[in-house]
Symmetry: C2
Subunit: 133 residues, 2 copies
């Protein structure tokens, strides 16, 4: 980033020992919670700069531009943080209406019923069609 | 817990190395995201059993029955988890309409504007009145 960039707002956050914070993506309008992923400083700075959700993939240990493969970009509308400055809340527009790699609208489709996790939301698009090369 | 309790649903979740998962509390009706806290197996089991949000306080290293001091209990309506089985989403009724220790409705009252975090939601009740003994 340029030397003129002011990073005070980034450093005010209480990044964890791994330099990460959880980031919730909530859909503007419906207010549905779409997913929770993780951000480091670079991911959050890029999210603001590019106005789309960019996470840090803990499994792949690299930046993850949400939608880079699927096209299901999350367009940024607003960023908030909580009172402890350690949780990020994004308000987004979900391209394609699909946030989940299973082809569902939200990642939170598993509901606790009768002591088990039941899939209660429909698959909107076959993942094989989303991720085909 | 009794020997007859079935804990398979708990063990299906991908608890982190500290035995914790992030839990988002979302208000039923308004769909506002109220807070994010952490749960271990015991906290989640008790949340289901007592039908109120019970978290694990990482700072105090003990169970935290949300509302135990403030009276601002989060009554459970539904529990979901995400596709990776590593994030919990609670749908709750927020007693007193206040989730935040600052006396605000939601903990997410700090909005990024002009490279700073601005408090954009009102304090509904003076914390000194909430937490007086």
């Amino acid at each position: 980033m340029s030397e003129q960039t002011n990073n005070d707002w980034l450093e005010k956050l209480n990044w964890d020992d791994n330099g990460l914070l959880p980031a919730i993506a909530q859909e503007q309008g419906s207010s549905k919670v779409l997913c929770l992923a993780w951000m480091n400083r670079e991911a959050l700075a890029l999210t603001v700069k590019e106005q789309r959700a960019i996470y840090w993939s803990r499994s792949r240990q690299k930046l993850w531009r949400k939608g880079e493969e699927s096209g299901h970009v999350q367009q940024l509308r607003e960023i908030r943080v909580d009172c402890d400055l350690d949780v990020i809340l994004l308000s987004v527009i979900q391209d394609g209406d699909i946030a989940c790699h299973t082809g569902r609208h939200s990642c939170f489709y598993l509901k606790l019923e009768n002591q088990d996790w039941l899939a209660v939301d429909p698959v909107l698009k076959d993942p094989a069609l989303i991720y085909r090369k």
